[in-house]
Symmetry: C2
DNA sequence: GCCTGATCTGGTCACTGTCAAGATTAAATT
DNA sequence: AATTTAATCTTGACAGTGACCAGATCAGGC
């Protein structure tokens, strides 16, 4: 009956949830701090105390986004038969994340608004990058192979997130992944017998 | 001495030029119609008569952007020794454009603001896509090969445009392209003797 | 019980996109 | 040539935005 208490109690989390919803509803380019505040049921200036300015909130969202991104890849990698299969599955996860959360994908990989000097964001991004390097190292690959795997996975995922590749839209998830598999296998370094028997492990 | 005439004469072009400058200066996410008008020296509502709303202007910019994009690829392809070399050079052009005009690149490939139902924009985008298909067809490739070449070129270009791939930033243009060459050659379909001797032609 | 500091509100300012009404001028019509 | 028509451009308004500030509220330490 008391309406609302003056202090929310856990406004930071509430704002974070509201911000994620706003981001998926309206996209980055019309993301609004005031809308987030309204959604969370607080005054328009409340978010400033927890995230600084708008970019601060987007930076926090981006850190979380990188973590979610990596979780999606991890989930897809379980059950991989070898290092090669694991890298391909990671590519599936990349594409899955981009299609399931296109705006979050954009925030992470395309937006200039998150502050990429933020330690949290740097750490989250580095975790994902190190994981990628681990995948390629387990295949006996090197720098060029990292670039090849990353670029191809990212390219498909980005084009899919932006719905720019019509060829991909007409396909079922299974067809998409079959296509992606052939493309990715071509990108990976040649099978090195010394590595092919080692089970895939995270770096 | 007459100050400015009431009618600009060629305001549409002037706004277009100003809009391009504003886009590169401030990026898509803080692109402002009023700023464009100010830059062109007209009132804040003048652009509406030529481009409708803000998205209309961005749509026009995107059409032009696709054309410029294709021109960059074309310029790089001259002097190619064979179809294979030509596809690789197109990839160089892709990356070059992304690094030289990152915001225009983003407008074309990542933004939701241009109206992709616009006939002009569709036509410009299709021209670029058809050209890509032509490159792959000249190699004897098919759908999966189109996806492979596009995804890899796009992936590197997009990551470079967003400065997300640190490995790439430390390199000279020559080093970057050497790296890209090895990656792209791996993506292309196996050399088909029937096609390898046919000089590269546009579709 | 009081005080300090964190949390949250409400107000304000400059800026934004869009709309409507009017001023100016070019082009078409008669 | 005179007049009507239509396009161009300006001015003013409104709601929404991010950022800033002063003040209200309240939790926890003293």
């Amino acid at each position: 009956m008391d309406g609302k208490p003056y202090h929310h109690g856990d406004l930071r989390s509430a704002l974070f949830v509201a911000a994620e919803a706003e981001l998926t509803d309206r996209g980055i380019e019309s993301f609004s701090l005031r809308s987030v505040a309204k959604r969370a049921g607080v005054s328009h200036a409340a978010p400033a105390h927890h995230f600084g300015d708008t970019n601060g909130l987007l930076t926090a969202l981006a850190s979380e986004g990188f973590t979610r991104f990596q979780e999606t890849l991890d989930a897809r990698e379980v059950g991989a038969t070898d290092a090669r299969d694991r890298a391909v599955r990671a590519g599936f996860g990349y594409l899955e994340f981009a299609m399931a959360r296109p705006t979050l994908f954009r925030l992470i990989f395309s937006s200039v608004r998150p502050d990429f000097a933020s330690p949290d964001l740097i750490a989250a991004a580095n975790r994902a990058y190190d994981h990628l390097v681990g995948l390629v190292t387990a295949l006996g690959g090197h720098e060029a192979d990292v670039i090849a795997l990353w670029a191809t996975s990212h390219g498909i995922a980005d084009l899919a997130a932006g719905q720019r590749m019509r060829t991909l839209q007409g396909k079922s998830p299974a067809e998409r992944e079959a296509m992606l598999r052939t493309v990715l296998l071509r990108c990976l370094p040649d099978q090195d017998p010394e590595f092919s028997k080692i089970p895939a492990r995270s770096l």
